[in-house]
Amino acid sequence: MLELKKINTYYGNIQALHDISLSVEEGEIITLIGANGAGKSTTLMSISGIVPPRTGEIIFQGKPIHELPPDKIVALGICQVPEGRHIFPDLTVAENLDMGAFLRRDKQGIKEDLEYIYALFPILAKRRNQPGGNLSGGEQQMLAISRALMARPQLLLLDEPSMGLAPLVTRQIFDIIKKINEEQNTTIFLVEQNANLALKVADRGYVLETGRITMHDDAGALLINEDVKKAYLGI
């Protein structure tokens, strides 16, 4: 479904990604793990077209997308929940969700999805008329994920969804990720610091070190890999 071919991404003159190649199959959950600053978020930003790669190709459903502007990429069905949530602070919760569905035109479908989301996260329903900026960190994370879901993405890019969340919520969110993946058949590209948890829900995993892919395997296999354990699982 998505394929990255040898992409190189730069911030100014600093190279953040070196020849990254990876692929995501339809319907699977893959995860990208790595230390701080390894380039995980940059990978996602490259896919979304915010920081387009200087060289290399990104193919989505057979079409090259690495030269498209971000809005066209979203229109193709790739949505991202960025690191740090990026809630629109002065829009209400409801308006934030509405923004998620910005490119959609099916009023009925939007309404249904909204109901679905309010059922998934009752707290959001309760706060629907409050400005997003006043929500707590966890509430904002839920809102951010919900907002992305409102676009009905085919591929959902999640950047550290568990950051700053209470354990209970973290688990809820991972349950929901699985649920979306199963119920709506949404393909999920998960970037996570909490490698334990990520590898448990994922089908496959990639390990990123200072901008280079150093390992790639089934999630289960990575979970028991000694190097991974030492470096990322803190065991």
Partner: protein, 300 residues
């Protein structure tokens, strides 16, 4: 009492004039956080285009109504084109620059446009034809409020309602608000940010042009410098109302217009601007984000 009412309407007219310009300021500020000093010049260019087009049309013998409509259209189109081009040339390359760089670019643009018109046209004042005729039914009230005052007031009211509707309920309005608050995230939900910013400049400029035409027709003369003074006042009004807020810009403009009118009427026009700016300082001391601006306690 009559005197009070006269001053009141005078203030309203003045306020409406400020409002038409202030709206553009506030929109641009709201979306890219830039004090667009060149906005006053866009207003001036709108007025000049209107003068040129209306003269050409009237030389060719068009009827008044056609002249008014075509002139307004032409002024709006060309002012928008200038607004659009200015953004592309002077601000877009500076999207990620330090905060003050676009401000200086704007000041430079403002000087450039002033002198451009000065050189291409004339430094002298030119008479502007009265595009708004004296309505017969207004004759009874002419000593209080003139026909063009009435038209300006109504136009401002209509534009404000339309604009509020646009921002609140339309797609482009939503996109504008999203872009204003978090540009990166707006991109990630599929908003074409460049397009939205361009649209903001285009709409703001068109409003300024309509304002420019009405005001010029009301006052009866223009030159290349009219944008500067009106621009500063309009900007003050926008801040007074809470910059970034559409109703705020209008409210701020009315308050400023009325203050100036009453200050002149009951105190002295010597200190008209002193009153205006003192009011601004006073209001900002008690409401640091303007009248309708959000008092934002930053959440940390």
């Amino acid at each position: 009492m009559d005197y009070f009412i006269e001053l009141f309407f005078g203030g309203l007219t003045r306020g409406s004039i400020y409002a038409l310009i202030a709206l553009g300021y506030t929109m641009v500020y709201g979306i890219i956080g830039l004090i667009n000093f060149a906005h006053g010049e866009i207003y001036m260019i709108g007025a000049f285009t209107a003068l040129i087009v209306s003269t050409v049309l009237s030389v060719f013998g068009f009827p008044l109504l056609a002249i008014v409509i075509l002139t307004m259209l032409a002024a709006a189109i060309w002012a928008s084109a200038y607004g659009y081009t200015v953004e592309k040339l002077a601000y877009k390359p500076l999207r990620n620059a330090p905060r003050l760089s676009p401000l200086i670019s704007a000041i430079g643009m403002s000087m450039f446009l002033q002198n451009y018109v000065l050189l291409a046209q004339t430094p002298d004042f030119l008479p502007f034809p009265a595009l708004i005729p004296d309505f017969p039914f207004m004759e009874r009230y002419a000593h209080i409020i003139g026909s063009s005052d009435l038209v300006i007031l109504l136009t401002t009211a209509v534009i404000m309602v339309l604009l509020t509707f646009l921002i609140k309920f339309t797609r482009i309005g939503k996109a504008m608000r999203a872009t204003a608050q978090d540009r990166k995230m707006a991109l990630l939900v599929g908003v074409n940010v460049d397009h939205v910013i361009s649209m903001t400049f285009i709409i703001g400029s068109a409003l300024a042009a309509v304002g420019g035409m009405l005001i010029a027709s009301h006052i009866g003369q223009i030159n290349f410098f009219i944008g500067f003074i009106a621009g500063i006042k309009a900007f003050t009004a926008a801040v007074l109302g809470g910059i970034g807020s559409i109703p705020g810009a209008v409210l701020g403009s009315f308050i400023l217009g009325l203050t100036e009118s009453f200050a002149t009427g009951y105190v002295s026009s010597d200190y008209e601007d002193v009153f205006a700016f003192s009011l601004l300082v006073l209001i900002l001391i008690f409401r640091p984000s303007g009248l309708l601006g959000k008092a934002s306690i930053e959440k940390v």
